[in-house]
Amino acid sequence: MWVPKGTPQEAIRKLTAAAMDALADSTVRERLAGLGQEIPPREQQSAEALAAHHKAEIEKWWPLIKAANIKAE
């Protein structure tokens, strides 16, 4: 979950807290698990965790995709 660059930090903090609260809710967790969704551990749900994960994913996948010469139609 993202917001555009320049969004006030107070808003980001509240959104992060709301998303993490939602992911801690037992009804939500049950529903997501039933859909085959894997919920990251709480310490991996933060904004910082997303930033690190996102960067790592791009560093991992872009070289692979480019090496395989995959192009969109």
Binding site: M1, P4, K5, E10, K14, L15, M20, E38, E57, W62
Partner: protein, 246 residues
């Protein structure tokens, strides 16, 4: 901010269609987020061009906390490598929260002569370039995860693009026109629950494959529909935690 945030409803841009996995995740979360925020979170599905239209809309929204967006591995990782995008997913957004992920799984037609991942890899190696995997087109998540599977396993097979994507792929897989598909557990299990794959001596092969993490995490093969609809197939969770051991 003049008024305490949030003072009015928030829009959540989903770059994919209503009813799909990302939309379902968004809807599940926004119902609960409303309680914390004290304001409604309204979903806007902005679809098209593999999610790039919706993400493009989100990046141009006013940075006031009232437009939030969500995405997945194709929209926020793969697209950047295959499209010339007018935005930078890392630099133009601020992260909010890391949400649950929905891993890809490899499924095979039910009469394919392999009942687990090792047997599938062996069969693919014995039949190089013969097997076919359906994808939603070049650069789709199914395609990229299929290429990854080939790289990790040292196998070769052909990709067959489907304009309509998953529903058509699953139809052709069930009727045996293609050999493999890389799909999402929720979709696979819906198919099982509908009773379209019947248990046979040669069972459908379901091998768990999760592209976003290391090759060693390639998921173990599981027989797909070995129980009546609604039992084993309806409960994907139990399949998730078994590490792949070669």
């Amino acid at each position: 901010m003049a008024q305490p945030y949030p003072s009015h409803p928030i829009t959540l841009i989903v770059p994919f269609g209503a009813g799909g996995p990302v939309d379902t995740l968004a809807r599940t979360l926004t119902d609960a987020m409303r309680t914390s925020l004290g304001q409604a979170v309204i979903i806007e599905n902005v679809t098209g061009a593999s999610g790039t239209i919706g993400v493009g809309r989100a990046v141009r929204a006013a940075p006031d906390g009232y437009t939030v967006s969500i995405g997945n591995w194709p929209s926020h990782v793969v697209n950047g490598a295959i499209y010339a995008l007018p935005y930078d997913v890392l630099k133009d957004f601020e992260p909010v929260a890391r949400l649950p992920s929905n891993p890809y799984v490899i499924v095979a037609r039910k009469d394919l002569p392999a009942s687990n991942l090792k047997e599938l890899i062996a069969w693919l190696k014995a039949n190089p370039d013969k097997a076919t995997q359906g994808t939603a087109g070049p650069g789709s998540g199914q395609h990229v995860s299929g290429v990854y599977f080939q790289n990790v396993t040292g196998t070769r097979f052909q990709f067959v693009p489907y304009r309509a994507g998953s529903s058509e792929i699953m139809r052709d897989l069930l009727s045996g026109h293609i050999d493999l598909s890389s799909t999402k557990p929720s979709q696979r299990f819906r198919t099982c629950a509908a009773g379209e794959s019947k248990p046979t001596p040669s069972r459908p092969t379901t091998a768990w494959l999760r592209p976003p993490i290391s090759p060693r995490s390639t998921r173990p093969a599981r027989p797909g529909c070995t129980s009546p609809p609604g039992t084993e197939c309806g409960s994907p969770r139990e399949h998730h935690r078994r590490p792949f051991e070669s």
